[in-house]
Amino acid sequence: MKKIYLDYASTTPMDKRALKAMAPYFSEKFGNTMSLHLFGQEAKIALEESREKVADLIGAKLDEIIFTSSASESNNLALKGVAFANKNKGKHIIISSIEHPCIMESAKWLEKQGFEITKIPVDKYGVVSPKDIEKEIKPETILVSVIHASNEIGTIQPIEEIGKICRQKGVYFHTDASQSLGKIPINVESMSIDLLTASSHKMYGPKGVALLYVKNGVKIEPILHGGGQENGLRSSTSNLPAIVGFAKAVEICKKEMKTESARLIKLRDYLIKNILKIEGVFLNGHLKKRLPNNANFSFSFIEGESLVIQLDLEGIAVSTGSACSSAKLEPSYILLAIGLRHEQAHGSLRISLGRQTSKKDIDYLLKVLPKIIKQLRAISPFRN
């Protein structure tokens, strides 16, 4: 049976070159980066070389990159770390209403600790208005956090404008770039970013490693205390194999980004154009301001989990924002935030492309999908 992976927003297969780069750091070059001897020195050098590669991709300085274990950890550290280090200035934090759950839940937790959270709504394309953020900034505001590109609908936010506003107002600006780094250019200087999260396994690196960029001078408290690794911001023995693999993956992304993104945009637009030909379907998110590899649709009269499983049985792996795909009864809050009705959110399908995706794969999907839609609609009570 065919096996076509179209869920790159969920995770990516590791690049073989990155896998090869990290391999020696398990048992051959196994040293602890904190040790003084040769083993340690070798590890330390590899760690700092990796840091350099990662810093280079976003235009950061070497000591502004903190390696963590996941984007969730980075986002937790950004929100909680800034909150606790700056609570004397104020206790107000602004986020968008379409953040990843790790930002949402961190904010919720901070609310319980006495912080005030403002959630900025989005328009029907999922775009945050920088003006809305400007209006909400007050003297007590310490942090604005807006996701660079939505993990679900792929909408890219005007973070440069948001960054500028925050800089002018003297408020820290954090962006979660887990879905965007390596796909679209990011420069922390020109975009006025103070903190930035990115994840290795979304860019063909290994799982279990991510980064938080923290601009020099930003006041932030660690969550993990201990041996003082990562500038004292993230104690824990460095996960060197993963970090080396991450850095190699970053290097490859940087080199191939331009051609690969152009290729993906072409494929994405071909996919969108053809899926919109099916009756009773609409695109979620923005037509142009979206990630090169993301497409998200809602199909009327159909529930997303059924759709995903039917496609899986045909060898195609995709995802949905339906409630049935989660432990909760509610469908994706991101789809509700862009104004979808519940039944439309239940009928959503996210297709995310990547390096292994070919036009042949898309054509196969386009051949299979209309049949499945027809089949599921034949069972649905709402088809008439």
Partner: protein, 176 residues
Amino acid sequence: MSALASKHLIKIMENNTCGLYTKKVINTFKNPHNYGKIKNADGIGKVGNIICGDVMWLYIKVGKNKKREEIIKDIKFETFGCVAAISTSSVITDLAKGKTLKKAMNIEKDEIVKKLGGLPKIKYHCSVLAVDALVEAIYDYFYKAKKQIPDSLRKKHEAIQKSKEIIDKKYEKWSK
């Protein structure tokens, strides 16, 4: 892959919150029985809530067996929902077809779950939905035919209505 058969995996599935189904569930979902409408149905049961993502409609046609007892002569379903909802819909139609009304209204959710070789815990409510839809269809038949409604059926119907009200109220702001 979605279809998992071994006992070990079924155990994982039962404790799992979502996404994993038995081969029986997947096969039923792939080829559901008795879907569609019945024109001039004798009874229709409509349960579920679009906001939660599961809506099930059951149509029944009532006839008589040799002993002159009323039976479910024909039954069809229409379902908007997940894999589990569609599978349980199919199974309830198979279980109910040919049964006397008395027996049909007493089909239990466990029978459905068993027929499917198990369901993830979080999806048990889909089997409840199927049982409720059948009860509602049979109630609707009694009501429309102006027949005396058996006490046990009335009680079941009232319980279903009550929980429906609670859910409708919970999601009031969304349904407009």
